[in-house]
Symmetry: C3
Subunit: 355 residues, 3 copies
């Protein structure tokens, strides 16, 4: 009945709300990609482009879109096959249960409040005044600073650092080595040296956010740096002080957002995007990988390049740039031909040669 | 008298050396931004651009430049309002005192020397031969390797790693997860594989340097990688082996400096700048975000783009690039018109068409 | 006889297989760069470009290429001087021996298997089912997750995180703070929110790989992310889920490789390179620093720029771009001159002015 023994296609169809096309009693014991799946596996075709690969697959069953063509094994047809795949993988790979309680080698300040159902692993540190919610899980070597809060069912992987006063919502996942609440990068130049501007604000991470390995989210100078509900932040991303990341926005790896910039909702960024400080990026904007954002971005805009421009324009420029060296030669030749014509017609000197 | 009870405007004026314009007995209890400040707060106008916002603010007092216009509450006028703001925030948010001594769960080698006023928190590790100076503070889970030195009043936040032999000066602040002294990236290709060149040099971090969360400063192959007095390095920055960062230079987040490059004094870099190896960047140079530096940079130069060019030139090129696709069409049309003229005048073939 | 007492030039010549040009009995006690070497040091000239510096050096001996000119002190001539330098540094700076055994403050699950010759330092954590091979070395504060494997003689520096099920080969070196096996960045958008796609695959790091400080290598969604034999990955690099990095490829700092991309063998990447998802980079390709790869790359290609183009083409475009603003003016002037000629010949209107 569990993951090890497998599930019948009927069970899976019921769990995913899928239309089953085949024998509901057939049992599959694992999820596997099309190329490596065998008769005991269920595989997936999230998109018609993979139909050919599916037809060559030896999988015992398929998760597939509603409108897919014929398949060589029973199919579970779903309206949203990627969402169904997420569910399917969760069925076969349930999160391992954490043992509630505090490991004897963890260092939990007496003034901290740890919910009895929370799991605090070996060598984790929870400082005075910190609050750890129900069923929250701290892996080994995690640090939670003074008065910080970690909400229900949130998971902090090994070596995560949550500095003092940071508030982490519910069902938040923070991957290893991420640092939440380090000082923002703020200085006042006194004519000789950079004097540190104390960073006395905080960070709020709302519910259902995920933050990647070794990512950094700085605390505000005053007020709060905020990552809103459902936003997803990949590895090695930098979020500067006083930034706001809107609900359900997605930032791919190594992207950086400079201080006080506001990112709207449902914004999508590729990897290595850079966004300047004090800017606004509107809802639903899409910023391609390595885009350099140096001005506000309107809602729904799709930008690419450095400096970032509308994708269609940026592509046209990139294509035209290839012809630029030849264009220079061509214009020089045109200039010569024109001078010859002007000479023939006695029109020299009417216009300065454009050199 | 302390932060909780607040300060009178007279006290603040005296501490900041500010000219007070209003009632010196008025007490403020917190520092707040213009938009959220209330009558018990002091806010700040670091720049005339915020005058309108200041006039709409309900703040009980303002820190302001000398020449600012009229404000709706008492003003403390300063020559350098950002520097004064740094001081003001320090008054209201004094750094919490650390408890001197070694936490019982810290692992300090008997051969290490820890000053009795230093604070070594839970689960920190100090290896043999390491020296921790007076009033230095190691947060939990910090590692200080063999024979490394941490100077007076320096602060190492949680999960910082200082490898063996690294020398950290006084009043240095290193944010969580930063790694100082990992091996430089050096190999010799033997025709089949990359053979590691042992990285047997060290790292010197001079006084008053700040290094951001998850930043990395590599040890030298031989000799030292050096970050000079007062330099400020943001999160996720990479400093390669044998690099020298000059005094009071500022590197914003995700910038990378490749091996053996020398950065002068008072250089300022935006985020995600990349600088090649074995280059020299002169004093006071300014490198805009995402700049790609592939050649030496003269003192005082201001560069932008990839490849980096003088800012004025790079902006002209970026503006002109928008017209490039149209320019290609236009030159083709000119060529046609010219050929027609040449045909009319019997001058065809005098010049190869520049195609 | 050891590093402290130094080596005779005869000993060094024998160890490196070098031809000695001078007195084999002379003893040198350290390796130093040309500029700072003294008479008791051996220095190195890996390349004829440094001959002038070598002639000015006070070094007591030199490592040099076979065909170098005359030097002011005995020379050890080698076919591959950089490889010899790697060996020479290893002679003078042998890796310090680690103490076999488990430090009493380490937390090793009873169900883990730790080879008796392995070294598990203070406050390291080894979870249930993990296997640590012979002579492997875990520095303090390292985490090795459930069922992960660390091969013989591999070194995990402080604060490295190896998540569950990851397989690390032999003689692998992982620098501080690197995270291997964090979840890949995969979501299914359900129309409102991003639903996490469980990342249930693993990571395989083959033998002789080196991974830099704070780098991240994500686990696969299904199957494995693979870093093949001898590959070298620098600090702060991101390797996405299901990526394959080929044998002996080199990725400089802050480079990012997006999901499911395959990098061939002997590929070389400069710093801050970005490579899109589901791409293929052929064997021996060379990608210059900050290159942006948005399409497959053929074997042996050398690319530069964003978007990346063949180096020769990209350089021509970069040089031509400087003339672009002037070119626009010139073409406008040409258009005016042409219109005047057309007017003189009564040919106006034959062609639409290309504006």
């Amino acid at each position: 009945m569990g993951g090890r023994a497998g599930f019948s296609l009927g069970q899976i169809a019921a769990a995913l709300g899928a239309a089953l096309d085949g024998d509901g009693a057939r049992v599959v014991t694992a999820v596997a990609p099309l190329a490596s799946a065998g008769p005991a596996d269920i595989s997936f075709v999230t998109d018609g482009r993979y139909l050919k690969d599916a037809r060559a697959s030896r999988a015992g069953a398929f998760l597939a879109p509603l409108d897919i063509g014929e398949l060589p094994a029973p199919a579970l047809r779903c309206r949203a096959p990627r969402v169904a795949l997420a569910q399917l993988l969760g069925m076969f790979h349930p999160a391992p249960p954490a043992t509630a309680g505090v490991h004897p080698t963890a260092v939990v300040a007496p003034e901290a409040r740890v919910h009895p159902t929370a799991s605090i692993a070996a060598l984790a540190v929870v400082a005075a005044g910190a609050v750890i919610g129900a069923r929250a899980r701290l892996f080994p070597l995690v640090y939670v600073g003074e008065n910080a809060e970690v909400g229900e069912e949130s998971v902090l992987y090994p070596s995560v650092v949550i500095r003092d006063g940071v508030r982490i919502g519910r069902r938040v996942v923070i991957h290893p080595g991420a640092v939440i609440g380090a000082d923002g990068f703020g200085y006042a130049f006194d004519g000789t040296a950079h004097r540190k501007i104390p960073q006395v604000g905080g960070v709020v991470i709302e519910d259902d956010v995920e933050i990647g390995a070794n990512a950094t989210v700085d605390r505000a100078m005053l007020g709060q740096t905020v990552v809103r509900h459902g936003a997803k932040i990949d590895n090695l991303v930098q979020v500067g002080h006083n930034v706001e990341i809107g609900e359900h926005s997605v930032l791919a790896a190594q992207t950086g957002v400079a201080g006080s910039t506001r990112i709207g909702r449902y914004v999508v960024m590729g990897g290595q995007v850079g966004i300047g400080d004090h800017l606004t990026v509107g809802d639903g904007a899409q910023l391609a990988a390595q885009a350099g954002i140096i001005a506000d971005v309107a809602a729904g805009e799709r930008l690419w390049g450095m400096p970032a421009r509308p994708v269609v324009q940026a592509k046209r420029i990139a294509i035209a740039a290839v012809e630029l060296p030849e264009l220079l030669r061509r214009v020089r030749a045109i200039d010569r031909r024109l001078r010859r014509l002007e000479a023939r017609l006695g029109m020299e000197g009417d216009d300065r040669p454009a050199s």
